[in-house]
Amino acid sequence: MTARLANSRLAAALTGFGTLVAILVLVEALIRGGAINRFIVPLPSQVLVAIPRIIAEENVLHRLWETAREALWASVLIAVVGIALGILLYRFRLLRSATETWVAALASAPIVLMYPLFLVIFGRSAATIIAIGFVAGLPPVILKTLEGLVGARQVLIDVGRSFKLTDRQMFWKILLPAALPSIFVGLRLGLIFALINIVGVEFLINFGGLGQLINDLAERYDLPATYGAICFVILVSIVFFILMERIERWMRPID
């Protein structure tokens, strides 16, 4: 059974990879055939060739580390503050009805455009970038934490009451585990928001990791290298997703 499971997983991975290759080959063909202007979209093969070049010449791995570090700090802050605020809104009904709409509105606000304000507060530094990533990623975590806690099934709470759980036990043993799947959905969304904003601000203020590099390369009109650098942004998000999945699995211990 495990062998079959491993097989189906391998098949899925291969299909995914195959689809990606097929699309790249298609784009390559469309560009070479003249259907897409090669001065706007570089050839995928050129992007591929550019990747070793940006690793060697543009120090892209160091840039990747810069961006990843900012994203890591932002996600830690998002998780700690977002979950705490979600719990706070759950506990205090008045606070919830007073602010829930505002938090939801914040989720759709283009935070990145407020970068001048953050520059004034934090200076042209990693702190500005982390702060913007943090503010951008916060709303989904707050809302999804709240949603998960409110959505905890009454019968599970009743089970806790029938076993005379203390408030603290009720929270840690029932409410939080019941809310966890929803909280992780919020964290994934928050992380995406944060990463987009982090790279965006790096680009805008020309400071830090991959965003700044993308800015440089674009200004030099080195399109294959620009797209190559964007591939590294995707790599950061993949790494964070895998990390998140690991943490989620670890949070559901099976002994």
Binding site: S162, K164, K173, R252
Partner: protein, 283 residues
């Protein structure tokens, strides 16, 4: 065989759980509704008692009052003569809705009350394993509820409640969501557990077959306001299995209870219809 004046008490044995003159009213948009009106019952140690009634007779309210989840009522609930208010460790509840924790494996679910009680891990797993075996789930210890059938999940909930060693097992239609065959077979399991542990049990149900199959006594309730209409002693031999369903005596009990219940259920349906019509007129 049946007593004309229902008190629900069994005068020949001691009393473990007693419910005295419970009245419960709810305030709704349409005014005050009396859900339970002067309900009294008593359960002797080791006895299996079922409370049966039509939908809307306040069965679940009675369950929640006895379990201590609902307060603000007149009357008294006592265990071993001691009045209780709120949830009490002597009473273990099994709910109608699925209540196994989906994030815990079978064994972790069953060990839950022991974990809360601070029993060391090794010991609590060992004790939990005993109860997992008792409900017939050996081999499924490390499975998550999502991997089990509905009947198995309810057995996890029963095992978890039994693991807290309650003096009284209180169950609210635990098999309501299951099909008839599974229900009969699970009934066998419940009979077996009752036999083995001599567990005092009070079952809330709307299923006549289930009530007769499992009980020493069946208390029939009226439609709103819920009162006790009749007490039927079930003199079927123990140990029982689901095969008892085929006997003449069984059919006789079912018919007897149905004749009482039928009036109430019909009245319930009529009143629901009238209420719905009334709502339609005001719209």
């Amino acid at each position: 065989m049946t007593s004309p004046i229902p008190t629900g008490g069994n005068p020949t044995a001691g009393v473990l759980l007693s419910v005295d003159h419970i009245v419960k009213r709810f305030t709704t948009a349409e005014g005050v509704i009396t859900a339970l009106d002067d309900v009294s019952l008593a359960v002797a140690p080791g006895e299996f008692v079922s409370v049966i009634g039509p939908s809307g007779c306040g069965k679940s309210t009675l369950f929640n009052i006895m379990g201590g989840l609902v307060g603000d009522y007149e009357g008294r609930v006592a265990v071993g003569g001691e009045t209780i208010a709120g949830t009490h460790p002597a009473i273990g509840m099994v709910f109608q809705e699925e209540s196994a924790f989906p994030w815990r494996t079978v064994i972790q679910n069953v060990a839950f009350p022991l974990e809360i009680a601070g029993v060391p891990k090794g010991e609590r797993l060992e004790r939990a394993r005993h109860f997992v075996g008792l409900v017939g789930l050996d081999g499924f210890e490390r499975r998550l509820p999502a991997e089990l059938s509905g009947g198995m999940r309810q057995r996890v909930a029963i095992a978890r409640t039994l693991a807290s060693s309650p003096r009284i097992l209180l169950m609210d239609e635990p098999f309501a969501a299951l099909d008839e065959q599974t229900r009969l077979l699970l009934g066998d399991k419940v009979l077996q557990i009752h036999q083995q542990l001599q567990q005092t049990t009070l079952l809330i149900t709307h299923n006549i077959t289930e009530a007769v199959q499992l009980s020493d006594r069946v208390l029939v309730m009226t439609y709103r306001p819920g009162t006790l209409k009749r007490v039927v002693d079930i003199d079927l031999p123990r140990p029982r299995t689901s095969e008892v369903v085929g006997s003449d005596a069984f059919g006789h009990y079912v018919a007897r209870i149905w004749s009482d219940l039928r009036e109430e259920a019909s009245r319930g349906i009529r009143e629901e219809e009238t209420r719905t019509l009334g709502h339609g007129a005001t719209r």
